[in-house]
């Protein structure tokens, strides 16, 4: 094993896949030699693979995602780089009406093996236009896989799988983990993680907490604290991919603990948390000994002021309160 940052793990994934497969290339603003995208996760790759494969584009999100679609439809494996997920609103038509509908409308005669990478999430005072999570919004569009990794290990293994997948994948990197230099261990040797499998990051028996992205770390901190201080045993399930959604792991965990709290850094309305709550209510109602709780952000855009942003993001205290209400 070796210790790397979230950013290095991502960079290694791209590096290894570009070395392995000549059809893999990336296109986006500033992905070239100087910046390697706004936060630098593609840095060094242009020097290694050239400007042909780390294609710097003008500020043209529509053209970036559109070109990736055309390239994917004709035999390449593009990675479309759209800086912050808030900007996915610009090429929304390409995602909503082209990328996710083409295969179906054409009766299955094409494959679109491409990845869109984007920064996601609040927590570093970037204000409302550079902080939004998009899982809930995009999970309503059939045809798009959605990945949201929380650790360096998961980032690398999942990104490699995303590139090899024959379907469109939206890969949401957590800005705070990228920019904050989160570290973790990864194997020296090559590995991949299948899309569509949640990961039990911590075993427990009193309550299941399903979390995603940055929230996984907060849930783990909360779980350790509750165990030490109150003897409450919390199982933390990291979703890792939103689509395909690993219902089985969630339901099995709920069957074991009989209680569910979902922690999701998104406004509650129409969120991933809402979907998971509905699934468990529909398919595992009899296993529940208490109401399902959702720990989510308020239904507002993300505020700038540090005081407001801290209040906005769900944290350990919000989670502890929700857990204590039902155990």
């Amino acid at each position: 094993m070796k210790t790397v940052t979230y950013m290095q793990a991502f960079n290694e994934a791209i590096d290894e896949e570009m070395a392995r497969d000549k059809t893999v290339f990336a296109l986006g603003e500033d992905v070239g030699q100087f910046w390697g995208n706004a936060l630098g996760e593609y840095k060094g790759l242009a020097a290694k693979y050239g400007a042909e494969r780390l294609r710097q584009t003008p500020i043209s999100e529509t053209a970036i995602v559109g070109a990736a679609i055309g390239a994917a439809a004709t035999g390449l494996r593009p990675i479309a780089v759209v800086m912050f997920s808030d900007f996915l609103g610009v090429p929304m038509d390409e995602i909503l009406n082209q990328l996710t509908k083409m295969r179906y409308m054409f009766g299955g005669i094409i494959k679109l093996p491409m990845v869109i990478t984007s920064y996601s999430g609040a927590g570093f005072q970037a204000a409302a236009q550079h902080s939004k999570n998009m899982e809930g919004l995009f999970m309503t569009i059939p045809g798009l896989k959605i990945v949201s990794p929380a650790t360096p290990y998961d980032v690398k293994g999942l990104m490699k799988s995303a590139i090899r997948d024959d379907n469109p994948v939206l890969f949401l990197l957590r800005s705070v983990l990228l920019a904050g230099g989160l570290k973790g261990e990864i194997p020296e040797e090559e590995y991949t993680i299948p899309l569509g499998r949640a990961d039990i990051k911590r075993e427990g028996k009193d309550v299941t907490v399903v979390a995603i992205g940055t929230m996984v770390h907060r849930a783990l901190a909360c779980a350790n604290k509750l165990e030490a201080e109150k003897g409450i045993s919390v199982e933390v399930v990291d979703l890792r991919t939103v689509i395909p959604l690993d219902k089985e792991t969630i339901i099995n965990s709920v069957k074991k603990t009989n209680k569910l709290v979902i922690m999701d850094e998104e406004p509650k309305t129409g969120s991933v948390a809402a979907e998971i709550a509905a699934i468990v209510a529909e398919e595992a109602f009899d296993s529940l000994d208490a109401p399902i709780k959702r720990v989510c952000a308020p239904d507002t855009p993300v505020p700038f002021s540090p005081v407001l942003e801290k209040f906005w993001m769900p944290d350990e205290e919000n989670l502890a309160k929700a857990i204590e209400e039902i155990v």
């Binding site: 584009t57 529509t62 070109a67 390239a71 054409f106 005669i109 679109l112």
Partner: protein, 317 residues
């Protein structure tokens, strides 16, 4: 140009017209549902452009796409079946009129979103460039689409990367009910090319040979890796925006003027005058195509609908 090629261009134009007029009838009779946007009147542009490219080249189409698919070699029976929503259609009846694609013929799809093909074709062109083939791409869209975001982003990107694309504006005068004279302040839409540093050419879109010659030059330029061209073909659509549109926005004299410039009789006269074909040879073709479309309708009618289990297929690869 040799006789075979000229005759095949004539045949393609008539195939499009015959197909479209029959679709019009079938729609009116209630046999076909959904939105139907007919191409009648614009045949010279699809045929002129598609005759200038190779079989392994790519095209991308629009909501008014039947003509492009036929010009690129699409089969009318499978198209008709698609319009009928039958399993034997090009896309198993899942796409319908606005979404016909056949990747093997290099047809990357018609599109219900105005202008969407402009950015996607860049990807196909980029892929040809990166794979090291000399394939070129033709991207069809219309005057309305030339006012969208993706026109500007797409053509700029194609220009800086020297992508092998011919961007074809089929300027048929209207975007739904909005005349092009209202929606833009320039006379020729091809003038916009200068903003992106690429050639812009305006031609008579009802003259198939003029379209062919201009397209050929643009295609050769693209194959020489010199980048994209913006080709504007001025033409006219005979019918409404969609079937059912009463076209109250079109002045009567304007319609009459354009009918006099119908691309098919015009090309027929040329073929006869140039002694490439006789009137009876051309009549033969017309008759043969009537029969082909009759058979296409029969094929569509007799084909089965998809099984409802098809609903769940083709979401994931």
């Amino acid at each position: 140009m040799d006789k075979t090629k000229l005759m095949s261009m004539y045949e393609l134009m008539v195939r499009i017209r015959t197909f479209e007029e029959r679709v019009r009838k079938e729609f009116a009779a209630g046999n076909i549902g959904g939105f139907i946007h007919l191409y009648s009147g614009e045949e010279a542009t699809a045929v002129g452009v598609c005759s200038a490219i190779r079989k392994d080249d790519y095209i991308i189409s629009t909501h008014r796409g039947h003509g492009h698919v036929i010009a690129k070699g699409g089969k009318t029976d499978r198209m008709m079946a698609e319009l009928y929503g039958k399993i034997t259609g090009y896309n198993k009846g899942k796409g319908g009129s606005m979404h016909i694609a056949d990747v093997e013929l290099g047809i990357l799809g018609a599109n219900g979103i105005v202008g969407a093909g402009i950015t996607i074709i860049n990807g196909a062109a980029l892929s040809a460039q990166m794979r090291g083939t000399d394939q070129v791409c033709a991207c069809f869209f219309s005057d309305g689409a030339s006012n969208t975001t993706r026109f500007h982003e797409g053509i700029n990107l194609a220009s800086i990367w020297k992508l092998p694309v011919v961007f074809v504006i089929e300027n048929n005068g209207y975007a739904e009910s909005t005349p092009v004279t209202y929606s833009t302040n320039i006379k020729n839409l091809a003038e916009r090319a200068c903003a992106y540093g690429i050639p812009g050419v305006t031609v008579d879109g009802n003259d198939v040979m003029a379209v062919y010659e201009a397209a050929k030059e643009a295609v050769e330029r693209a194959r020489r890796k010199e980048g994209p061209t913006l080709l504007e073909c001025k033409t006219y659509r005979y019918h409404g925006h969609f079937e059912g549109d009463m076209q109250e926005y079109k002045p009567k004299e304007e319609v009459e003027e354009w009918l006099k410039k119908d691309p098919i009789p015009r090309f027929a006269s040329k073929l006869i005058n140039d002694k490439v074909a006789t009137e009876s040879e051309l009549k033969e073709i017309d008759k043969r195509l009537e029969q082909e479309i009759e058979d296409a309708v029969k094929f569509a009618v007799e084909s089965p609908y998809p099984d409802v289990s098809e609903t769940f297929e083709d979401v994931w690869a």
